[in-house]
């Protein structure tokens, strides 16, 4: 018996082609949305704990200046980009936090900063560990103990950078983020806290320079102007002069008075940041998270904002955008600005050198 071979009609052929094309495009789109198409950076050669800065590509240097969101789903793109750090939000169990950090750190040529906000009365780990609020701490010994025990706990989780303490005065909103007392008392308590924290090898961070971030604002005025007094900046100067604190976070507030951001948000004010760098050259300057309307509205495009944040002189930029492709695009925008001479490569090198030194490496150029 002879079977007659079925011939496909044109409609059927088109159907098969379209179906295959759809499936391929779905796979590519999914891969792209998870950032799997972001190219992997070359492996670094680190000899005797020493890194030659020239061995890093410009992409790698810029990526080192970023702290991104520590979401497990983004592990591939962040590792491919070799970002400088990840930030941990609250997670359901200690085990998940631990495993997330281990997975992120695994195979990274330069270990990541792993940051958290265990500060004042914010406790992302409150489900499994309680700590006193800053409002309850009024003695130097107690502040040291607080820092020491919080540091021990963070270290156990794998966190090596804590965005604490808040040293802004006059906490009108939470009433527990700052230490109690006047600017002198707050400075002394903050210093003890930092010493305790750093005794556990967890780096502390004073925020949010130049102050006035704990006051209630008009909800409909997202561009906020504040007058900064000598009192507001006292804790920052006190702590930086003592040399115990290694990092400082700069806010988005536009300031005048004792610190003048010259009409732009502090975080993109070259004058304000240069002032800190001139007085305290070894301090690492960290931007507050950059996706704030008060900052964005100062620019006509995201690209301009990205360039503004880097050009101002921030060493580490917090970009918690969950879209890895956008973060990768940011790196390309900055790279392009460096190539065009809008941002000096020397400035990027200085920042990366300090980041790598804080991570415990010797750096040669």
């Amino acid at each position: 018996m002879k079977y007659k071979k079925k011939r496909w009609t044109n409609t059927e052929r088109v159907f098969v082609v379209l179906l295959i094309l759809t499936l391929i495009l779905i796979v590519i789109n999914v891969a792209q949305s998870f950032g799997w198409l972001i190219p992997e950076q070359p492996t670094l050669r680190i000899i005797d704990n020493t890194i030659d800065l020239d061995s890093l590509s410009l992409d790698q240097k810029i990526a080192q200046m970023l702290i991104v969101i520590g979401d497990r789903r983004l592990i591939v793109p962040w590792k491919n980009m070799q970002v400088g750090g990840i930030h941990i939000y609250a997670l359901p169990t200690e085990h998940i936090i631990n495993n997330t950090i281990i997975d992120f750190q695994y195979g990274m040529p330069i270990p990541l900063f792993v940051s958290a906000d265990l500060e004042g009365c914010f406790n992302p780990f409150a489900k499994f560990k309680n700590f006193t609020t800053n409002a309850e701490v009024d003695r130097i010994g107690t502040a040291f103990e607080k820092g020491f025990f919080e540091g021990a706990y963070l270290k156990q989780l794998g966190i090596n950078l804590n965005f604490a303490p808040v040293v802004d005065l006059d906490d009108q909103i939470w009433k527990c983020r700052s230490f109690p007392g006047d600017e002198k008392k707050i400075s002394e308590l903050a210093e003890s806290y930092i010493l305790g924290l750093q005794a556990q090898e967890v780096t502390g961070n004073i925020k949010h320079y130049p102050g006035k971030t704990l006051v209630a604002k008009d909800p409909h005025k997202f561009v906020v102007y504040e007058n900064i007094s000598e009192k507001d900046i006292y804790p920052y100067h006190y702590l930086l002069e003592r040399g115990d604190v290694k990092t400082i976070m700069v806010s988005h507030i536009i300031t005048n008075g004792a610190v003048d951001s010259k009409g732009v948000p502090s975080v993109v004010s070259p004058t304000l940041i240069k002032e800190i760098k001139d007085k305290f050259p070894s301090t690492i300057i960290i931007s507050d998270e950059i996706h704030m309307l008060g900052l964005k509205d100062f620019y006509t495009s995201l690209d301009e904002m990205y360039v503004g944040v880097f050009k101002a002189g921030n060493d580490i930029i917090l970009n918690f955008d969950r879209d890895p492709n956008e973060v990768y695009r940011m790196i390309q925008v900055i790279k392009d600005a460096v190539i065009r001479g809008v941002i000096q490569e020397e400035q990027i090198d200085d920042s990366v050198e300090r980041i790598l030194q804080l991570k415990g490496f010797n750096v040669v150029r």
């Binding site: 159907f15 489900k127 527990c176 971030t213 909800p219 997202f222 996706h291 955008d321």
Partner: protein
């Protein structure tokens, strides 16, 4: 067997899907009113910080969104005070909690870090 007519309709649908997937791949967005609504902070967005028995309105909705996102979860809830607030973002046992009304919560969800 599927008739030629049905197959032709499927082909047109697939072709549309292919076009949309192509557009998405190259980040070519189609403007939508939905997004336009939330590019600015809604005028009646409310964020309330709750620590212990104290409730304080926080004017910085952007910062409030970020802090809310850092919490373990956000869920619908009835606030213990007389204000139309629909969501609470908190971490179990943490002293600070954030109450947001619908407008604020919708705005927060549009942010890149959410």
């Amino acid at each position: 067997m599927v008739s030629d007519r049905v197959l032709a309709i499927i082909n047109v649908s697939l072709a549309l899907i292919v076009i949309l997937l192509f557009l998405n791949l190259f980040h070519i967005g189609i403007p939508s009113l939905g997004k336009a609504i939330f590019t600015e902070i809604p005028s009646n967005a409310v964020c309330i910080v709750n620590v212990g028995d104290e409730f304080t309105q926080w004017g910085d909705i952007d910062e409030c969104c970020l802090e809310s996102r850092k919490q373990l979860s956000c869920s619908r809830a009835d606030p213990p005070f007389d204000l139309e607030v629909s969501y609470i973002c908190s971490t179990e046992n943490s002293p600070a909690r954030y109450w947001l009304n619908n407008n604020a919560f919708n705005y927060c969800q549009q942010q890149p870090y959410w």
